[in-house]
């Protein structure tokens, strides 16, 4: 994390310091609060991950033992697997659908503003409340989804009540919630596109598909990567939907890192183990974000 910091400011450091000084008065109150509510928990977590502490009993320093235990904990390793499975689907599908929706909402038509407002409603709605409604829709016997499936001749599904379908079902909710977010970012990208290449392509007799693939796609790619990075971070961290709808179940079939973390911390009160999970979890998030940032740089140069 320190690396990105250095890279971002190295170029303008001498000038930057001079520029920054007069404005420090504006920044430090916020910085102070950030330190209190963000940095302090971090130091605490790293320290606690080196201790064995069950709330209510004594704390003992154990070094890296928590991490070693995690490395052999099957439930933890499975949680990592579930997290990746969930994340890949919950990033890729909203990205594709969000891009398609952006292409549609970029066109000018009557009532566009109104329909666009309707379309972004899901991402603003309270996730817990939305998850509640989906829980009722997923019900295998009385849920409306199985009824809709039967209307188009599909067999009923167990949705979140079977180990095989639980994660894809949860991804469905995630798609519903976050496709508008991708749409908004890509829409911002489309709005910034120049007109000239399209006019030139039209004169040269290019088809719609050729124009999309050779002009729109490369120009919008940086925006897609941004959407992808944010979506990846959020999908890795997804909590409310999973917690409310399946609670990590059936069994531990949909237990992601975040759910496992919650159980360790607040059901079993294992502060040491939970802190170690946080550190590993954060390392995964940062590593993935850096990989994606790197692809963004590559996309810029290409």
């Amino acid at each position: 994390m320190a690396d990105t910091d250095i890279v971002a400011t190295r170029a303008d450091r001498p000038a930057g310091d001079r520029r920054l000084r007069p404005y420090l008065g504006f920044i430090w109150p916020a910085l102070l609060v950030c330190t209190a509510v963000i940095i302090f928990p971090w130091l605490f977590t790293v320290w606690m991950s080196l201790n064995d502490w069950h709330i209510g009993s004594d704390r003992t320093f154990v070094g890296l033992e928590n991490y070693i235990k995690l490395a052999t904990d099957r439930r933890f390793l499975e949680a990592i697997g579930h997290t990746f499975y969930f994340t890949v689907l919950a990033v890729f599908l909203p990205l594709v659908l969000g891009t398609l929706s952006a292409l549609v909402f970029h066109r000018k038509f009557r009532g566009r503003g109104f329909f666009r407002t309707l379309f972004i409603m899901p991402m603003m709605a309270t996730p817990v409340a939305v998850s509640l409604v989906w829980t009722m829709m997923f019900h295998p016997q009385l849920g409306v989804l199985n009824y809709l499936m039967s209307l188009v001749g599909l067999p009923p599904s167990q949705w979140v009540f079977s180990t095989g379908t639980v994660i894809p079902s949860l991804v469905l909710v995630e798609i519903w919630l976050w496709t508008p977010f991708v749409m908004i970012i890509v829409l911002g990208g489309l709005a910034s596109l120049p007109n000239e290449p399209y006019e030139a392509a039209l004169i040269d007799g290019a088809t719609q598909w050729q124009m999309f693939w050779n002009i729109t796609y490369p120009l919008v790619l940086p925006f897609l990567v941004v959407a992808m990075i944010i979506r990846t971070i959020d999908a890795l961290k997804a909590f409310e939907t999973i917690w409310v709808i399946s609670n990590g179940g059936p069994g531990t079939a949909s237990e992601t890192l975040n759910i496992y973390l919650y159980a360790q911390a607040f059901s079993y009160n294992q502060v040491g183990t939970a802190s170690a999970v946080v550190v590993v979890f954060f390392a995964i998030i940062v590593a993935l974000s850096l990989v994606l940032l790197w692809t963004r740089q590559k996309a810029k140069w290409a």
Binding site: I38, T126, I185, L202, F282
Partner: protein, 296 residues
């Protein structure tokens, strides 16, 4: 474009070709329009259906809600479910808790975040902006273990203040982020002129930049309000029986009344109504603000 090259063959009947061309173009345009309408409908259908189903469930008696095949349009609409929600649980208290938590967190974030956004934008301190991204990457739960321990030691658990304080983890980055983007687009000249006339940095900010930034502040305030209102985890961990926020209260209903679908749907509507209304108010700014915030 294909119509132009395709029909440009016969010079013998130019008039006929012209009308032919026109009708073809018309058909093409119509097809295009129909395709667009279809695409919009397909995109909106899942979005609207969930909201429609929530509304439908909330307006029906449970006998209709558990009927098979499902009853879509309530035959005997009723508001009983909403009455039930307010009768069975102290929903007004929870509403007030949510207002306190979200209001405090949003106001504090504005107080600290607007000047900070200004400072970062003017000083072009991108390193500090990157710090914000880091706060977004951190899983919310990871703040909770240390803060929970801390608050417990301080004896604050059981009041709304720890919840409000932790909600600043959400609201402060949003406000700073949006204000950076906003102040960067403001023209420099006015403040420079004020500075030459002897205004201090603070005065330039207070009397020039701040009034100009009002639209940005409104967007930042509403967005942070929405995200704080919607947040569940912080409240779930810190809230006691009387300090639940709305999302926590609704989640608790699920655990106790998992088959009372009508009241559950009604509660879901009650929780999200404020944010839905706010979204409608600032939908244009959301589209602009998030697009800008996401890219920088």
């Amino acid at each position: 474009m294909t119509t132009i090259t395709g029909s440009d063959t016969g010079s013998a009947a130019p008039a006929r070709t012209a009308t032919n061309l026109r009708t073809r173009r018309k058909v093409r345009k119509l097809l295009d329009k129909a395709g667009l309408a279809l695409a919009v409908a397909v995109l909106l259908a899942p979005c609207l259906f969930v909201f429609f189903w929530m509304l439908s469930l909330s307006l029906k008696y449970d006998i209709d809600n558990t009927a098979w095949p499902p009853v879509f349009i309530p035959t005997q609409p009723t508001l009983d479910n909403f009455v039930h929600v307010f009768d069975e649980s102290p929903m007004l208290l929870y509403f007030w808790n949510s207002i306190q938590v979200t209001g405090t967190a949003t106001l504090a974030a504005l107080l600290l975040g607007v000047p900070a956004g200004y400072g970062i934008a003017k000083a072009r301190a991108h390193g500090l902006a990157a710090l914000l991204l880091l706060s977004r990457m951190t899983p919310g739960l990871s703040y909770l273990i240390p803060l929970f321990t801390l608050f417990q030691m301080m004896g604050l658990i059981g009041t709304v203040w720890p919840i409000a304080l932790t909600h600043m983890v959400i609201t402060l980055p949003i406000v700073v982020w949006i204000m950076i983007g906003f102040f960067e687009t403001l023209p420099q000249e006015l403040e420079e002129a004020a500075r030459i006339d002897g205004a201090s940095l603070w005065q330039a900010f207070r009397y020039i930049a701040l009034p100009l930034a009002r639209p940005g502040i409104v967007v930042g305030a509403i967005l942070s309000f929405i995200y704080s209102w919607n947040n569940f985890i912080f409240g779930a961990v810190f809230a006691g029986r009387t300090t639940r926020t709305m999302p926590v209260a609704v989640y608790n209903m699920l655990t106790f009344e998992s088959f009372a679908w009508g009241p559950l749907a009604a509660a879901a509507i009650v929780v999200m109504l404020p944010v839905i209304l706010l979204t409608i108010v600032i939908q244009r700014e959301i589209v602009q603000g998030l697009a800008a915030g996401g890219v920088k």
